[in-house]
């Protein structure tokens, strides 16, 4: 079987996670890893004796790579992806979400992908969770009829009780990029293109960055309220949920379950345990294995992967619109 030659750029927790999952796939060979931090670089060179570890993406250019995973902090996605395309390191790119730190940069990357790339994808892994996939399939089949409204949240306790302003907090972009992007992607996937109607920010520390944002999205006949915060108490793991109302009933979907209440009086609940949730190798969440497996298969088959850069750039667009509304008061 043909094996894909892959490299991973950025060895934070997401880089290590993807590198590990790719390593167990029979159709993949992890050829190189790339990390800028000198402290981590030295450590990883000792740790990964059989895999090349480099400190600059340009050093990946001679490795005849079939694909590169970009798992650096969000603000670095733009220069790294640009270099990878322009230096012809590879034509197939996977970028952890969000695609870029602004819609303008995301558009530039889409244009580059169009001219210099083949298969591309952004890591909106919630699309690969069995509960959200089942919800999408039901919505497409018209189980709820015409959708009229939704409420969504993305909460974590990542910065709950942390009073000092943190450099990492800023380097991760905003709470919208880091956490909100997942739920925005799910809303766009479920309901199609949406426009931002209003947005209200909250800053828990010093006003230097938003810790929570509440905004409304709408399109003809449909309105949605979204709440995003990384300062919630008791959200040990990031949690995402949508409550969707349609003419035929209500659906509540999150990482753990899918509840359906129809106007005819019938109701059902499916847990992950009901939805065939096993994967060949489980690390972190099952979604990571599924999205990597799907991306690899897309490259091998030479077909488009979703969410592509183009699709994912719509999330950057919504985030930009929310930020504009916030800045314009």
């Amino acid at each position: 079987m043909e094996r894909l030659r892959v490299a991973v750029v950025g060895l934070g927790k997401m880089g290590l996670l993807h590198a590990s999952i790719l390593k167990v796939m029979p159709s993949v060979e992890v050829i190189a890893l790339c990390e800028k931090s000198s402290l981590l670089l030295k450590f990883f060179r000792k740790l990964f004796k059989t895999t090349q570890v480099v400190d600059d993406v340009e050093k990946l250019a001679d490795l005849n790579l079939d694909s590169v995973y970009v798992t650096t902090p969000i603000p670095v996605h733009f220069p790294v992806v640009k270099t990878l395309y322009l230096k012809k390191v590879t034509r197939n790119l996977f970028v952890e979400k969000t695609l870029a730190s602004s819609w303008g940069k995301a558009k530039e990357l889409c244009a580059l992908a169009q001219s210099h790339g083949d298969v591309n994808m952004v890591g909106y892994m919630k699309r690969f969770a069995v509960t959200f996939r089942t919800a999408k399939s039901m919505l497409d089949q018209g189980t709820l009829g015409e959708i009229t409204s939704f409420e969504a949240y993305a909460y974590s306790s990542d910065f709950s009780g942390i009073n000092e302003s943190s450099k990492t907090r800023a380097s991760r972009g905003s709470v919208l990029d880091d956490l909100g992007s997942h739920v925005i992607d799910l809303a766009l996937w479920f309901f199609g293109d949406l426009e931002v109607d209003s947005a209200v920010p909250e800053s828990m520390v010093d006003g230097s960055c938003e810790d929570a944002v509440h905004f409304t999205l709408k399109k003809s006949g449909l309105e949605g309220q979204v709440n995003v915060s990384w300062c919630m108490d008791n959200y040990r793991l990031p949690d995402f949920e949508l409550m969707i109302r349609g003419h035929k009933g209500i659906m509540k979907v999150n990482d753990d379950s899918l509840e359906l209440k129809l106007n005819d009086g019938t109701s059902s609940t499916w847990y992950r345990q009901d939805l065939n949730d096993n994967v060949n190798f489980l690390l972190g969440e099952r979604e990571y294995y599924r999205e990597d497996e799907y991306f690899v298969k897309s490259i091998l088959a030479g077909i488009k992967a979703e969410p592509s850069f183009e699709t994912a750039s719509k999330v950057d667009y919504v985030i930009d619109q929310v930020k504009r509304k916030v800045n314009n008061g």
Binding site: S20, Y271, Q273, L282
Partner: protein, 301 residues
Amino acid sequence: MANESKKVLLVGDNPFHGISHLSQERARARSNEIEQVEYAANLVVTSLENGASGFMFSVSDTTLSILQKIREKIGNNHPALYGIVPYAYEYVRLATRLGTAGLVKKVAKQVTLSGNLRAIITGLHGIVRNDPKTLMKTYLISEVSRIKSSIGKQHNLDSMLLHEIITDMALALDLDWIFKSYIRFIGELGIKPGFETRNFAYLANKFKEWNLDFSEILIVAPFNKVGFQMNPSRAECERALAEVPESNVIAMSILAAGYLKLPEAIEYIENLSNIKGVVVGVSKEKHACETFRLLKERLDA
């Protein structure tokens, strides 16, 4: 063929950290009581009085306080203790807040502040030589020292397990030296080395390939009637279990995170070969009594 020997029955600490794999909403809805040290210690003691033979816990400030409280309550009646390192959630949260390099610095500071001279000296060697093996050893010395200060010098740990995130990542990355070094080092301390995994079939195959001695180690992995977290499949995990040469496997997630009722969960475990015991979390006193009475009656008779 069912294994008819007595089973190890362990109470787990997941509920004390606000974990429910069935539903995060359910975990949040639980009373804050469950995360209080006194309440959690009472639950462990009740479980021990009703048939549990030991306590399995992630090494965190919370569980170390629970251990101290248990010790005050039961005096010299030592339960079997199974520690899991590292407490991955806390480290992932730190990495999220500080970045990976920030996390490394924070752990180095923690080891230094632990005041354990052996850990500090070993750690300095590791940093100077930038040697992952020595750094791992340093971390383990410091964690064992933290546990000992909570359980008392006379009391020993029965097993020290590597958390599933580290086990599974090291498995995937083919880092056999991590397993070999871990087994050697923990074994030298007179503690049984163990590994928690959510990829039991993969681990069993790798360990055979690396010629690791199953009699020297303990493995904790999900086993339940609905195949929850049994990757790649229930059938593959059962086949791998039947083929391991020693009965040193403890089943976790036997209730499939609250999806199954206890009698049907036990019925499945009873019919598995090569299971050494089970670990189950409890969140209420009544739940602790009923769970361990029934487990003892059915599995430890």
